[in-house]
Amino acid sequence: MKTDDTLRMEPSPTSAAVAAAPKNSRVELLERKGFWMKIKSGGAAGWVKLTAVAADAPASQGAGSLSNLASGRSGTGNIVSASGTRGLSEADLRAARPDAEAVKQVKKLAVSSSDSAQFSSEGRLQARKLAYLKR
């Protein structure tokens, strides 16, 4: 744990407290949901904010690292391209002959604001007002 924190029943700051997770204690990472992480600390399991554990995660990809946790939906979309296409390397980019014709085609793919407005509304996407984050 990066900080003293409280394990909560649900991934929400108003959810009931389950137990305390003291700073510097070692915990087991179970599941991530949004910016919350379910952890096991001592005998208790519960949710803490991702930032409470994030700084303690190894940068490498050892078991239990943050980056190795499944998002809970893995396995469904991991299609390996079966086509005859190949990769795109740095050398390919450096050796590429510009294709201006393809750029014209890309520009024709552009959609209008009204198209995207209809698309957003069909998907019931609700716009939010949000400021940029301070780093």
Partner: protein, 308 residues
């Protein structure tokens, strides 16, 4: 691709002649450029003072909105022209994916994110390119390319929005354009010194040099700070459009779980910070409104209905 013409000595000489970005103690061209970038950032934050007081009120009139208003029309035209050249280079390396429904879909998702950004007036277009590599590219001026390899590991529309929002952020913040211009100013210095030998460059030659500089940056990558900034912006832009602010984390986790040695990720990993570092950065900057927006959108599964 010729990055800098003339000898190193000539370059340093030109810098001194220009008197623009010289650090007395700096040893290499890279140091000089880094110094110039840092000074640029410092100047930017000075110019933006005083900051708007309440964060909530800053929503649509951000520092970025003010910067965008200050962009000259000529510079935007130049940005678009360079971007078309850079996109042509990427498209010369990998063709368009012959899948009309995916092409339309990435444009609709991309445009819906753009609509919530400060530069919605740029001529945005999005396309998927047919390569197994997992990557995405932002050309200055609003052409965004996502590889088929990346598209195919995405599981939700929210994740597609997050990926496109990261690229949109690069364009909005002029990350590539600014580096192209800064490095070209250095080259221009070199050509002033060499002018007697080579004659003045034509407009066409200048544009050609800017484009090849842009393609060079595509191959080499931006600095880490620009990538972290694009990640932070991506969460905001995607969430503004109604998508899950944490979908970027899903994508980064999936990248991290893949071997860094795998050839499909070689270029992405070479040009970006490690996914684990990006995960740490985005979790650290996420504020309460962003955390509250970590909710899967109702459109999440629409990606599964995009045929064939």
């Amino acid at each position: 691709m010729t990055m800098v013409r003339g000898s190193g000595l000539l370059r340093i000489g030109a810098l001194l002649a220009l008197g623009a970005v010289v650090d007395a103690g700096a040893q290499s061209l890279d140091d000089l450029l880094k110094g110039a970038l840092q000074r640029g950032k410092a100047a930017e934050s000075l110019l933006n003072l005083p900051k708007k007081a309440p964060e909530a009120a800053a929503t649509q009139d951000s520092d970025l909105a003010r910067q965008v208003r200050a962009f000259s029309p000529q510079s935007v035209t130049e940005e678009i022209q360079i971007g078309e050249g850079v996109a042509a280079t990427v498209l010369g390396a990998a063709p368009l994916w012959a899948n009309a429904s995916v092409q339309r879909y990435v444009n609709l998702v991309g445009r819906s994110v753009v609509e919530q950004s400060e530069r919605r007036d740029l001529p945005w277009s999005f396309a998927a390119i047919d390569t197994t590599s997992i990557n995405a590219f932002a050309a200055p001026g609003g052409i965004v390319l996502i590889t088929r390899g990346l598209y195919e590991i995405l599981e939700t529309e929210d994740e597609l929005a997050a990926v496109l929002a990261h690229e949109i952020a690069h364009v909005n913040r002029r990350h590539h354009f600014n580096v192209i211009k800064q490095q070209s100013a250095v080259d221009a210095g070199a050509s002033i010194v060499g002018r007697n030998l080579r004659g003045a460059a034509t407009e066409r030659e200048v544009m050609g040099a800017l484009v090849s500089k842009g393609a060079e940056i595509m191959a080499r990558g931006l600095d880490k700070g620009a990538e972290f900034e694009a990640d932070a912006d991506a969460m905001v832009l995607a969430a503004r459009a109604g998508y899950d602010s944490s979908a970027l984390l899903n994508v980064l986790e999936r990248l991290a779980a893949r071997s860094a040695q795998h050839s499909s990720l070689e270029l992405l990993f070479k040009t970006h910070p490690a996914p684990a570092d990006r995960i740490r950065e985005v979790s650290a900057v996420a504020n309460e409104p962003i955390i509250a927006a970590a909710v899967s959108s109702e459109a999440a599964d629409r990606i599964k209905r995009v045929g064939p």
